[in-house]
Symmetry: C2
Subunit: 355 residues, 2 copies
Amino acid sequence: MKKHNFSAGPCILPSEVLQEAANSVLNFDNLDLSLIEISHRSKNVVAVMDEAVALVKELLGVPEGYSVIFVQGGASLQFVMTPFNLMKAEGGKAAYLNTGTWSSKALKEAKRLGNAIEVASSKDKNFNYIPKGFEIPSDVDYFHTTSNNTIFGTQIKDFPKAEGLNVCDMSSDIFSRQINVADFDMIYAGAQKNMGPAGATVVIVKDEILGKTGRDIPAYLDYQIHIDKESMFNTPPVFSVYVSMLTLRWLKGIGGVAEMEKINQAKADLLYNEIDRNSKFYGTAEKEDRSNMNACFLAHEGVDTALFDEMWKAAGISGINGHRSVGGYRASMYNALPLESVQALVDVMQEFEKK
Amino acid sequence: MKKHNFSAGPCILPSEVLQEAANSVLNFDNLDLSLIEISHRSKNVVAVMDEAVALVKELLGVPEGYSVIFVQGGASLQFVMTPFNLMKAEGGKAAYLNTGTWSSKALKEAKRLGNAIEVASSKDKNFNYIPKGFEIPSDVDYFHTTSNNTIFGTQIKDFPKAEGLNVCDMSSDIFSRQINVADFDMIYAGAQKNMGPAGATVVIVKDEILGKTGRDIPAYLDYQIHIDKESMFNTPPVFSVYVSMLTLRWLKGIGGVAEMEKINQAKADLLYNEIDRNSKFYGTAEKEDRSNMNACFLAHEGVDTALFDEMWKAAGISGINGHRSVGGYRASMYNALPLESVQALVDVMQEFEKK
Ligand SMILES: Cc1ncc(COP(=O)(O)O)c(C=O)c1O
Ligand SMILES: Cc1ncc(COP(=O)(O)O)c(C=O)c1O
Ligand SMILES: [Mg+2]
Ligand SMILES: [Mg+2]
Ligand SMILES: [Mg+2]
Ligand SMILES: [Mg+2]
């Protein structure tokens, strides 16, 4: 029996996508060859890359003047590539909103290349809220946010906007809700939440912002090179891009991001209502900043969590252990997680309350 | 019918590996979860990473004092990481042997960070030989070679040795022949030839050479960080590492690198003998420098290649079109290509000669 997979990432993917991915590992496009043993320059793999890019553009409504590329290295390499591409070589300045572990790591990389400042931080309360009402200096090259804080279960609902360029790490909520791409100059996201297997990262970047820093950028780190070579500057992570493409096809099939957002809202409402209602548990994030992707909750003092742990495991639930930075539980409800899985967890929570 | 797959990379993998990879995409380790939808920190994925590293060490006889890591970004990111980690920040100097497109690209990245020189080049003859008898300055931080030139079909048989550190890009012949790892301070290789799918790169590095440049290295580019985090600094390319691990298990099963080398020698002898014997074709690389992985050959003037192309396609052969830099044909005979596939190509060449 398939598990109720609440893993925080890499995470659940649609079962029809997994089936098709497995088939293509054996025989891709009826070529009598595996997807993973043919040239990335073959017309079939180029078609996969093109469709993946087209689906990203269509599903997010990417306006004219933006490029979409797939690169390797995860979001962590984007922490490095962002300042290399956007921070001026002389007198470079960037501002970061620090909402958790990932924002902190991104900021650290920018500091190596120039004057990167933290405009606000929620570290004082273990990142359980999104800072608001702060000032962003008007003279920064770019301002960086993290849309969803995978570890601490908070999510930006109203994006603050800087006068300079606006850059966002959307690794853990891209394609989960509607966003206005035109509000951003650059968006990046590791595939391994709502898109596909680890190993690919999507970058959506406004073309006109590139090439303006005066930096000599190493080739692999240069967005313009990946754009010019249509993500084939070097051998791309073919399998990860292919499975991402399949997942985006699936998303389009269920009605796109607007429809997905409704389903995700229903899942989040179901679980957060139960966390609030249930006398044994409480949520850790401020209510108004709660993430619809990652719900972090703790048991009240004195609650027998060993029994609860036994019960959810017996119900076929997996992946709800909290991150060590928060403890307790973290139920990640990415796109491919069905409402039934959330219901299964809620059922266990209710059963447990009665014991 | 499975094709005779001579692709230059990504390239043929053992069919039992493909079968097991497909199974694990559906249900990994009987977890009732896919390999690509579970946490990289789960004990099953950590076990995959550990086994992959152990197999690299065992199969290549990696001595004590070396670390083995898997990173993303392909060999192209190693072109960047090499100088970042090994070239001194002040007065850094490196030497490169230029034997083809990949060496040239590697050299270009080093030049951005310091004084990188070309000690010798075979560009004068379209890289159809390996330069010999050149001097390597004794004061360079490191000396870089490319063991096998995938595009031009040449291979270093006797590695020149520098007084400084010796670094080698073995992307297209690692695990194909015995090497003495102790002769090198660092070896890197993209997975997508003899190891697995695109998306993972293996780096074998002598621990004591790191941390000596005085450079502030971006986290993702820092070998020491990947070593300290056992290739889990960030989400690793799980699928690519897993399939690489399966391929290395397969290699161990057939008797390891020593046995593989004999098989590869037999395949190369079979094809090169035919290229030499056959009146319609000739090889492009100098005989003493011929690659056992990639055999490049051209048809003599006036030969009807359209007919030949029809014939090999009809025989179920794929991937032997030459790279545009050389033209003609390139038959790549990586580890997983069976001798029977080479025989099939030789048969077609002989049949064609008689027409
Ligand atoms: C919001 C966010 N940013 C960045 C990262 C780091 O991603 P990667 O492991 O692909 O480098 C993660 C990983 O979980 C994340 O959730
Ligand atoms: C010898 C060699 N080095 C480097 C590369 C570049 O590798 P990647 O595409 O993984 O960056 C290749 C690719 O074919 C290669 O054959
Ligand atoms: Mg976080
Ligand atoms: Mg409660
Ligand atoms: Mg070459
Ligand atoms: Mg001949």
